[in-house]
């Protein structure tokens, strides 16, 4: 699989949260029980997220990051693919395939900064920037390696 399709699958973040059809009380799900997938989901655990048939009720298909004010920016040139950020991210917003880090899922990342905290490289491969700042500019001004204090 190409790395591009994992970053930009056609189901991820295709709609704003709350954009579902506003049905009446007689049509809402009993007990607010929301199915995660359309149809039989047996074996879904063996599929990558972008291959799964997510239901509209699954937040995978929604953009749920509108309140983020600072964002992590990822620097491929420094990353050692240790997968720490992937393990620690509380919102499954680090995209990784075959133990290679691909990037950030900005439709679901809330900007908590945990990935930056756990990044072990020097300088870090992930840093927080203002939401409005362009990623290219952020990467252009990336800090240099810090020397150990003597």
């Amino acid at each position: 699989m190409s790395t591009g399709s994992a970053l930009a699958s056609n189901k991820r973040g295709i709609r704003e949260l709350g954009a579902e059809e506003m049905v009446g009380w007689d049509e809402v799900q009993q007990g607010v029980v929301l199915p995660s997938f359309e149809g039989d989901a047996a074996g879904i655990v063996n599929m990558h997220a972008e291959e799964r048939n997510y239901a509209d009720f699954n937040s995978y298909t929604a953009t749920v990051a509108s309140w983020r004010v600072i964002k992590p920016v990822y620097n491929r040139d420094i990353c050692i693919d240790c997968q720490n950020c992937w393990v620690w991210c509380p919102d499954t917003s680090i995209i990784s395939r075959d133990k290679q880090m691909l990037g950030i899922d900005y439709d679901h990342c809330k900007g908590c900064g945990v990935c930056v905290e756990v990044c072990p490289t020097n300088p870090k491969s992930l840093l927080m920037f203002n939401e409005a700042e362009e990623n290219d500019e952020a990467l252009a001004g990336w800090p240099q390696k810090e020397k150990k204090a003597k």
Partner: protein, 413 residues
């Protein structure tokens, strides 16, 4: 496979033991419990059945009643038949999760042994905890004696688990007066009881890995209202299923239950409306008063506290002979009329008879309610009927020491 429990045709059981036997026969998958007086023997008994091989399910000891009901919610969402028991302060601590259970449409059965709420701390029976649950979205059914404390949980599983209902059900009984009083109880054989309850058929269960689902979702102003309305509709529609289950139970056992029990109401001039073990006291008093003084007294008892049976209360009270009705609330009303007075008055307002309505608070913290006191209150209703107007405060207090206490009165021009 669970062992069969050998039972006699007639057993001498108290209300707690009766309820625990009913839970055992329903073969529950998970009981998560934190025992509290006076309901302790229900889960204590259940734990013994599990330990001795009479149940195949799990008994989960937890650290609080909040955790007990949370464990029940999790197990029910996973797809199991689930029940527990509590009382009073434990019920209060559970109350947050009670709303979760009903909103998530999980048919948990909660046997509540009614007890007063602190402060002052009190272990005796009144209806404070039962009243606390009345807006929680659960079906609430009230057992007046040990036999009913056995019969009604069996019905409760059938009612709550019906796919048209899918709501949790509380089965109440009075602390000590019912829970600790041994009476003759006619149990069903295990196989017959289980056949009546039936196999649990889960809906949207989390353990179905072919169809993963989210339980306990958050909704804000754009969805919450619709879900609550749908839940209320299910509760308001549940009487059809409740009546059907009661009819099936009568066919099986000969014991008849109705959402509203009426006694001697056909020609009644005055009536008492009340709940719980006091119903038997009031019926005895009414019979005696009819014989001794010829006063035509009737008694009305809502077996089903939620959904409140407005229709059947209206029918019970819509008698041309009926002049005065006293609603008796065994719970401190906290700055209002008693809840039963409010509900029953609303139903009575839609009758042609429009009887005079009064309210007594009684029995708080286990204060005794005697046959003589019931008769005194009935005679007071007769005095209202004869005078053609309410001759006392609308709300009064029965069995209270100190100066007479009463609130509110009718306006007479």
């Amino acid at each position: 496979m669970a062992k069969e429990f050998e039972l006699n045709e007639v057993e001498v059981w108290d209300g707690n033991y009766a309820a625990s036997q009913a839970l055992r026969q329903a073969q529950i998958d998970v009981v998560a419990a934190y025992p509290i007086t006076p309901s302790t023997p229900i889960v204590e008994g259940y734990g013994a059945y599990v330990a001795n091989g009479y149940v195949d399910g799990e008994f989960v000891m937890v650290e609080s009643e909040h955790a007990a009901m949370s464990g029940c919610v999790g197990a029910a969402a996973a797809g199991g038949r689930v029940a527990t028991a509590t009382s009073s302060q434990g019920f209060a601590l559970m109350s947050e999760v009670l709303y979760q259970a009903s909103g998530m449409r999980l048919p948990i059965v909660l046997t509540v042994v009614n007890r007063a709420l602190a402060s002052p701390l009190n272990v005796r029976g009144d209806h404070s905890d039962m009243y606390m649950g009345r807006d929680s979205g659960w079906i609430q059914i009230d057992a007046f004696d040990a036999q009913e404390a056995y019969d009604l949980p069996l019905c409760a599983f059938r009612i709550g688990e019906n796919h048209a209902v899918r709501l949790p059900v509380m089965v109440h009984q009075d602390g000590f007066t019912t829970s600790h009083k041994a009476q003759n109880v006619y149990p069903l054989k295990d196989a017959i009881a289980y056949k009546f309850v039936g196999d649990f058929v889960p809906v949207d269960e989390m353990l179905d890995f072919t169809r993963p689902v989210t339980h306990g979702a958050q909704t804000e102003e754009d969805w919450h209202y619709e879900h609550k309305a749908k839940q209320h509709k299910a509760l308001m529609d549940s009487p059809a299923v409740i009546d059907e289950v009661f009819a099936d139970f009568k066919e099986l056992t000969g014991r008849e239950y109705k959402r509203v029990e009426s006694y001697m109401m056909e020609d009644a001039e005055v009536a008492l409306v009340l709940l719980g073990s006091s119903v038997h006291t009031a019926v005895l008093a009414a019979k005696q008063l009819r014989e001794e003084e010829g006063i035509k007294v009737g008694v009305v008892a809502p077996r089903c506290f939620r959904p409140f049976p407005y229709d059947l209360i209206r029918d019970a009270l819509d008698k041309p002979s009926l002049k005065a009705v006293c609603c008796m609330d065994k719970s401190s009303p906290g700055g209002a009329m008693g809840a039963l007075f409010n509900e029953v008055s609303a139903a009575a307002y839609s009758t042609n008879a429009r009887p005079m309505m009064t309210n007594y608070i009684y029995g708080l913290g286990g204060r005794d309610f005697s046959v003589d006191e019931a008769k005194r209150i009935m005679k007071e209703q007769k005095a209202h009927a004869d005078a053609g107007h309410i001759t006392t405060n609308i709300q009064q207090f029965s069995g209270l020491r100190g100066p007479k206490l009463g609130f509110y009165e009718i306006r007479r021009s």
